[in-house]
Amino acid sequence: MIAAPAYDLEKVRADFPILSEEVRGQRIAYLDNAASSQKPRAVLDAVDHVYETGYANIHRGVHVLSERATEHYERSRRRMAKFIGAQSADEVIFVRGTTEGLNLVASSLGRYALREGDEVLLTGMEHHSNIVPWQMVADLTGAKVLAAPVTDRGELDMDGFAALLSDRTRIVSVVHVSNALGTVNPVDEIARLAKERGAYLVLDGAQAAPHLKLDVQELGCDFYCLSGHKMYGPSGIGVLWGKKRLLEAIPPYQGGGEMIRTVSFERTTYAEPPAKFEAGTPNIAGPVGLAAAADYLDGLGIPEVAEHEARVREYAESRLSEIPGLRVVGTAREKAAVVSFVVDGVHPHDLGTVLDQEGVAVRTGHHCTQPLMERFGVPATARASFGLYNTEAEVDRLAAGLRTALEVFRP
């Protein structure tokens, strides 16, 4: 039997230049990966390479640099199609990020599918970016937005979810992995229930992409959104995947250059997807960096990454449980690398400031999930979220910083 190669954490860390930055004399312990992750050298180099060797506007130029840039861009689209298991690269739309992807789907699918009295079913653990765009299109169409309940552990209440599904449900839009709690939702079961009702299924994969091996066809959804910057790629680039026949059927999102076939003042016809949804000059180098991030993740192996992160998260949960008055918010059985917590008598914002002094970066606040915070009766939490480069020693620094905070704030 051949043993699996051990996860080489030292080598991984050396790939990320920013991890050797010092803050107040200490190496930064970056535990805010659910907000945004750091970039490996390979991603930085890939972006530089575009600008240094093959940058121009894409698709239209007849000159060599435009051809090279177009090839960079379209090769990245094919790479991302493979990364998410899409049937065809034409199903991959480059967007600014998950927020833009969800806005696009809500606007275009919403206008296509929703009529007065129809319902959009969300869950109580959605990020604001998977709530507000639906409310906006509901206002336009007269549809209603509902939210399925969340249990005390921070899992989706599947009975409650099923009870809210009806023949009026036209669209179900659910977060794959919760950014605030780390909960991994049972998307297979969700897809099965949505299909039974003939509803379209949209998945917000912003937090899933860096932790789970994706196969959009197997997931059984109709649309899937992700952000490059949360999976070690550049910010300002993400992917919206949609089934080809739906991308053909729904109306465009933005109008402009590149998304048309012919334009006249009498009648304009649109290009085929993906161009139909990519009006204007896009982020040209971003997709190249994103494709490099996909290469990087696949090079390490997403299952290996996930296993490493689970080890760090479990270590964190055990170290934090030793801290008096600390309560973890979100204890789902299926969890990604997030530990959200509150500490009796110390506001999360103050915890964040003390930890920052110790060179430990965490997120504090409502994590753009105000309804979820309300559900748990807290105004905010502190959140440590782990990435493929985090170490148990960094968790020790988190725990030590929390003890310092207790000394300061507990009378």
């Binding site: 914002h349 103050d350 002094q357 915070m373 105004p379």
Partner: protein, 149 residues
């Protein structure tokens, strides 16, 4: 606690955050305003009793970090007895100090200079000013006074 933290979390601030003064709704209040910091979820409600153009009493309820709680608590002490214009001046002086626009001026700000350290923490400036913006709103809403029968 290191020196930088000690500069931010001065003893007076910690004391007021643990035992906020004038905490609670005020039945006699004739002005009321809500403050909300969407960045961190801090909320507070400020109650004022204004008579003859001056703040007679101030109290608050709310849920916030040490900085915002202590700031509200010290505000309720500092605003008491001030004519409305002077209270508004104090809001401006306080804001200027924590935003780093003016030096801490003990003469006009008194005990409130303990918040001077906030200027070194740009992400915490809004925590310190929340109660003060709320005070300004409560005073300036004079046309639509909240009635307490």
């Amino acid at each position: 606690m290191n020196d930088a933290l000690r500069d931010l979390y001065r003893e007076v601030i910690l004391d007021h955050s643990r035992r906020p003064r004038n905490y609670g709704a005020m039945d006699a209040a004739n002005r009321q305003s809500d403050g909300f910091n969407p960045l961190c979820g801090d909320r507070l409600r400020l109650f004022l009793l204004v008579e003859d153009g001056a703040v007679r009493q101030a109290s608050f309820v709310g849920d916030g970090c040490a900085i915002s709680t202590a700031s509200a608590s010290l505000l309720t002490e500092a605003a008491r007895g001030l004519p409305e214009e002077e209270a508004l001046e104090l809001v401006e002086n306080f804001r200027g100090m924590v935003a780093g626009e003016s030096e801490p001026d003990g003469e006009s700000l008194g005990k409130l200079t303990v918040f001077a350290g906030v200027r070194d923490y740009p992400t915490r400036v809004k925590c310190a000013t929340l109660a003060w913006h709320t005070l300004r709103a409560a005073i300036e809403q004079s046309g639509e006074t909240v009635k307490t029968e």
